[in-house]
Structure formats: C-alpha cells, structure tokens
C-alpha cells in the first residue's frame, strides 16, 4: 500500500532531518532522519525511553527541538527560515500549523467539562470559525464513524476508556488534519477495549489518512503499517516494511525487543 503513495513526485507528508532533542544534559533524540509519504501509515516501535513519543511530540512542536528540522508538507515546523537563519515562530503561527496535524494521546485528554459532542465541535467552532450547526452535523457524522453516535451527550467521565479514546480520535479528525499522530493510543486501555480503538484506526488508515503511530501493538503494526520504524536510545535502529522489520529483523536490539514483546 505504501509504495503506491511513495512515488518520488509527491511531496512527502513529513520530513525529519537530523532531529535532536535534549532534556537538560540528557539527549533523548540523537539525529532522527525519517520520511513519511502521503497516505502512509508508519508505526514507531521501541522500548520505553527510546525517544519515540518525544519524536512524535516534536512533529507538532509540543516539544521544541534542539537540532535538525521537521517539515510537514512544505512547511518548516516551529521556525521561520530567513537568510539561512532560523527564527522562533510566534505562538499564534505555531497554533495555525497545528491545525493541520491531529494528535491522539495515551491518556485521551478529553475535556472533562464538555460532552463528547462539545469536545468534538470546540476547535472547529472556536479555531476554524465554523457555525455551531455546521460543526455539530459534522461532529455527529464523526461520532457515528467511531461508533459512538449514541454517546454524543455523555461527559467523558460517563464513558469507558475505549469510548473516550474514540471520541478523542473524532475530536482530532474534526479539524480535518492532513496528518494524524497517535501517541500510544491503546496503552492506557483495558485489554478488552483495545480492539474497538484499533478498528477505528484501521478504518482511518484504509481511508488514506497519513498516520504516525507510536505503539506496542505489534499485531496492529504488522497488519496496518506500511513502514515500521524501530527506535532505541534516541536513534532509528531499523526501518522498513513490517515483513522486514517484524518478521526478519536484522539488528540484535530489534530482535531482543521483539522477543520480549511478542
């Protein structure tokens, strides 16, 4: 599936060039190079502390980077380049860039004081300036798509973890992003609730959404991903198709990680 999209003519959806990130003296990303084509589903695997979540959060500038560059489409994220010099961007401009990048969090981060429907329409109305009626009808369609049209008027505290995560996906999709980032979307869920969330993500992948998924669900990566990237110690150890990386890993670190999780 990936190969049909990764033709050389189209602009890649994401280009990360030598991305470095430090927390204090601790360098968690040591030069990440990564390209994600339009419509591609990329799964990031790796042990905890490998920097995969941090890298994901750099893509929409929730974390600033200390080195390298990240482009989403043609836009440089978080900085403006003038005369070969990078200038920090105004927070308002970064907010505009984030409109095109949806994100789903491990802990859902739904707005607890708003109902499921209100969660989904908040940004389209408040940020994109949609009318409330228009946003509501779009939101109801999205809630239908994630299988929760009967939960529209429930508060997050009245929903199960799996339902909350599906509302969170609908909330991100409501901004009509070009790219979706998933930060361990099923790690906080009870095992029996994981399947519903993964099904929604599979459906989204089929519809052609570009997705970067940090996950421990090897089965999902094997089935849905076009590319699997294994990270450890802040570097990309191995990247390739699921059959290459998961079925036939070349590096010892990848092998031992896969042995421990499978």
């Amino acid at each position: 599936m990936a190969d049909t999209f990764s033709s050389a003519t189209a602009t890649p959806m994401v280009r990360a060039l030598g991305v470095r990130k430090r927390f204090g003296s601790n360098e968690v990303l040591k030069g990440i190079d990564l390209t994600v084509q339009q419509g591609e589903v990329l799964c990031l695997l790796g042990p905890s502390g490998s920097g995969k979540s941090t890298f994901l959060r750099c893509i929409n500038h929730l974390e600033t980077i200390n080195g390298g560059r990240i482009y989403v489409g043609d836009t440089l994220i978080g900085y403006v380049e003038r005369g070969g010099v990078l200038h920090e961007m105004h927070p308002g401009e970064i907010a505009l860039q984030r409109k095109n990048i949806g994100m789903v969090f491990q802990r859902f981060n739904l707005f607890p004081h708003l109902t499921a429907l209100e969660n989904v329409i908040e940004a389209p109305v408040g940020v994109s300036g949609l009318s409330k009626t228009e946003a509501t009808s779009k939101a109801l369609a999205l809630l239908e798509r994630v299988g929760l049209s009967d939960r529209a008027n429930h508060y997050p505290s009245q929903l199960s973890g799996g339902q909350q995560q599906r509302v969170a996906i609908a909330r991100a999709l409501a901004m009509e992003p070009q790219l979706m980032l998933f930060d361990e979307p099923t790690s906080a869920l009870d095992p029996e609730l994981v399947g519903d969330v993964l099904a929604v993500m599979k459906d989204l992948a089929k519809s052609g959404m570009t997705m970067i998924v940090v996950t421990h669900e090897i089965g999902f990566a094997r089935e849905v991903a076009d590319t699997v990237v294994f990270m450890d110690g802040g570097v990309v150890v191995e990247a390739g198709s699921p059959s290459q990386v998961i079925e036939n890993p070349q590096h010892e670190r990848t092998k031992s990680f896969l042995r421990s999780v499978l």
Partner: protein, 302 residues
C-alpha cells in the same frame, strides 16, 4: 423470635448499634443554648425594644444594602483582577511575573485597615488628580482628588485591590490543578493560549476556585465594616453612628450582627449553584456509574 439463616438471598437482619450518648449530648447542648437565649431575652441590661425598633429601620437597611453592594462590586473587580494577575504570574514573560508577584506581595504584606485609610486620605497626599504628559504643560484632566474619589470609591478601591492579591493565589492554584494534558490537547487542536485558558483551563479550574472564593466573599462582607474609619455609610458605620447618639452599643451590635449573619447565609446560595454548574462532567454519580460498568443511559444530565 425467628432465626436468621445465612442463605445469601436475604439482607442482613441485625439490631442496629445503639448510640445512647448522642441523645445525652444533644440534651446538654439544647439546655446550654436554651439557657443562653433565655438569658439574652430576660436580661434587663439589654433594651429589647431598641433592637426591635432598629432591626428593620430604613437607615439600618440602607446600610445593609450598601454593604451588599460593596461586597459584590469588590468581589467582581477583585476576581477579574485576580485572574489577570494569576495568568501573569504563570506567564513565560519575566516582566509580567515580576509585576504580578510584586503586586501580590505588596497588597498581602500590609494591613487592610492601613490600605483603607491610605485610600481615604489620598486627597491629602495628592490634592489633585492630573492626567497629562509628564514634564510638559500638556494637561487633559485636572480635578481635586476629593471630587474624583469619594469615600465610597476609596473604600471600593481598598477592598478590591487588597482582595485581588489573595484571590490571585486562589485562581493560580485552580489553574495549576488542571492537568497539563488538557492544554496540550488544546494546543494540538490549534487553539491559542488565551483561548485555551478561557475555554478549557479556567472552566475546569473553577471547581477548585469556587469554594475558597466563597470563603473570601464571606470574609469580604465582614471586612466592609472596616470602612467605618473612612465614613462609608455601610451597615457597621450606621449602627455605630446611631449608638453614638443613644449609647445603646450592644443593641445596635446585635442588630448589625443579625444582618451580617442573614446576608452571609444568603450569599451561600449562589456558591452552591456555581459549584453544581462547574461540577458538570466531574460529578461523583457519573464516575460511580462508570465503576459499576453500567455506563450512563440518560444522556448529559447533571
């Protein structure tokens, strides 16, 4: 007498534990309170007819109304200013942080009574309020301080500026109580920081802010009595003026105390409404439904 069997089908039938001492203490308490009330009613040093005469007298009621007006206005101004100060104190901008911290330290660090007297005597320090360009002869506005700042305005300024310093810390605590994931989710949806604060963070912070602000409101209602020193005709001042003439201090204190108690009781109602309003989505009923695994069936009720 029937024998209870433990067949797992029926509720436990057991004689409830007796609490005889509760009744004893209740009777003791009732006797103490009753005795105190009786003594108040029968003691001949208190002129009961004066209490009755002044309790609903127009001058006392006008004083009470002014007390409420001062309390509400001061709390509204203080809350707005406090929110600005709290956001400033949490800002990335070091200048804003220094200004907010300085303000809070200054107004919390000096007695309220001193601040009231200061605002009341502002006209002595600055006889004229002048608006213009410094070091030039350009003047747009020049008025005697006494005409611009009445004793009412001085009192309002003193109370609200002082309260803002305390309330700012309450608002800041409320903002800090909201999970960081909330503003991250808001950011990831393209919301700007002020929008996030207004629509996502502050509504959730309200749950934490309201109870201590209820405390502050009660405290404020009573602090208005300090305005007696700059002759604002609020409840305590008028009660004092009357007793200065008829020398019935105790009677008028009883009258004023009665109205303070009534007003504070009434002020508790909006607090309960606000707590319910901002508790939506957080109520224990819904989370207990989730724990029972039933899920909610009747929509977004509160």
């Amino acid at each position: 007498m029937s024998v209870q069997t433990n067949d797992g089908q029926h509720d436990v039938v057991a004689v409830p534990l007796r609490h005889p001492w509760r009744i004893v203490w209740a009777i003791v308490l009732l006797l103490l309170v009753g005795g105190f009330v009786y003594s108040l009613v029968t003691v001949d040093t208190i002129q009961h007819d004066l209490i009755a005469k002044y309790l609903f007298s127009p001058i006392i009621l006008q004083g009470a109304v002014l007390t409420v007006v001062l309390t509400v206005l001061s709390m509204v101004i203080a809350t707005i200013l406090a929110t600005v100060l709290a956001v400033m104190k949490l800002s990335d901008n070091p200048l804003l942080r220094v200004i907010a911290t300085g303000y809070i330290e200054f107004f919390r660090g000096t007695p309220l009574l001193l601040q009231i007297v200061f605002w009341g005597y502002l006209g002595i320090i600055y006889p004229h309020i002048v608006l213009g360009v410094p070091f030039t002869s350009i003047v747009w506005f020049d008025q005697p301080t006494a005409t611009v700042i009445s004793s009412f305005t001085a009192g309002l300024l003193a109370l609200s500026l002082n309260e803002a310093a305390y309330a700012a810390e309450i608002v800041r605590a409320g903002i800090l109580s909201v999970d960081k994931g909330q503003s991250e989710a808001a950011k990831s949806l393209g919301m700007k920081s002020w929008y996030t604060m207004r629509r996502i963070v502050l509504p959730q912070a309200m749950r934490v802010i309201i109870p201590p602000m209820g405390n502050e409101t009660i405290s404020m209602l009573k602090s208005t009595s300090l305005l007696q020193v700059i002759a604002v005709s609020e409840l305590y001042t008028v009660a004092n003026q009357i007793s200065a003439q008829n020398l019935a201090q105790i009677e008028l204190l009883v009258v004023a105390g009665f109205w303070y108690l009534v007003m504070n009781t009434v002020l508790g109602f909006p607090q309960r409404y606000l707590e319910r309003r901002y508790g939506r989505g957080f109520d224990s009923e819904s989370s207990s439904m989730l724990r029972n695994g039933k899920g909610a069936v009747n929509g977004g009720h509160v």
